[in-house]
């Protein structure tokens, strides 16, 4: 585990804790009249709970603690669906168990963003694989693009597995 952490974190060091100004981000044209009008990422993001990766913001915490209040709908008639249910995955593999929290997801997303075109709404009903996730499918549709990146193994593989000597003792 220590080795894992060391390798993973070494990649983060150089970039941690800073946001590029828009004029240096290799995306915005420094000569565009928008520079100076657009908000700089550091101005907005430095006020939010810090992270070491992605936007350097813990987005779930920012929302739950009320640092930000993103609107849930534009049309008054839209139904807001929330679900507070954790799903444990990969109960037999060699890696720490994946805990999928519905709560954190439905604070941002609607059920139809995932069900059923990405995942059948049935525990264990999907054949998930890390390879496909790394290729931008399944969880990787969002994680690695907009939600925290896939380098953060432990945030998904978050439930320690009891000694590999007795895998059958793994709680359900």
């Amino acid at each position: 585990m220590a080795v894992l952490a060391a390798i993973l974190f070494s990649g983060n060091v150089a970039a941690a804790g800073s946001w590029q100004p828009l004029q240096n981000d290799d995306l915005h044209d420094p000569a565009s009249p928008a520079i100076g009008l657009l908000q700089q990422p550091a101005e907005a993001l430095s006020k939010l709970p810090p992270d070491t990766t992605g936007n350097l913001v813990r987005w779930v915490e920012a929302l739950e603690k009320g640092h930000i209040e993103p609107r849930s709908n534009i049309f008054p008639e839209t139904k807001i669906n929330l679900l507070d249910k954790d799903i444990l995955m990969n109960l037999k593999g060699g890696t720490p168990i994946v805990r999928f929290p519905h709560r954190a997801h439905t604070l941002w997303l609607d059920c139809a963003n995932c069900h059923d075109h990405l995942f059948k709404a049935q525990t264990g009903g999907n054949k998930l694989s890390m390879m496909q996730i790394l290729q931008g499918e399944q969880c990787g549709v969002c994680h690695g693009a907009v939600a925290f990146p896939l380098t953060e193994c432990n945030r998904c593989h978050s439930v320690p597995r009891p000694g590999i000597a007795k895998p059958s003792a793994t709680p359900r």
């Binding site: 585990m1 928008a34 534009i74």
Partner: protein, 125 residues
């Protein structure tokens, strides 16, 4: 533990060769037609919009598909209140007359998702 290390090696081999990304994580460039028609590419920032809107507003209510380049966004549609124009209508947010605020990208950028502080390939992972 062996399994973890194998995956890590795979990951590192995918991660390291890329050039460091400077763009903010989740930034999207839209340039199917803009540059051909004499405008700078469009830059859409997830970080800016997600402070104000949950993902479900755009990707469920307003119907943006979650795949860069898969929404055929036309300027005429925006002016008619579709896509970005569902909000950039002078009501929810400022209107489509402020060309430069959206068309602010460097010339030559292909459509895609950019950014990341240590991953080299957002949109792939």
């Amino acid at each position: 533990m062996g399994g973890w290390l194998a995956w890590l090696v795979l990951l590192a081999s995918l991660a390291l060769p890329g050039q460091p990304a400077l763009a903010e994580y989740g930034d999207v460039v839209l340039n199917r037609r803009s540059e051909k028609e004499g405008m700078r590419p469009v830059i859409f920032s997830h970080w800016f919009h997600r402070i104000r809107f949950q993902c479900k507003v755009c990707h469920q209510e307003l119907g943006f598909k979650m795949r860069v380049g898969s929404n055929d966004v036309r300027m005429a549609d925006i002016i008619n209140g579709k896509f970005c124009g569902m909000c950039h209508n002078g009501d929810v947010a400022w209107g489509p007359d402020r060309c430069d605020l959206c068309h602010s990208g460097k010339r030559g950028l292909p459509t895609g998702i950019y950014g990341g502080h240590e991953t080299s390939g957002p949109g792939r992972w």
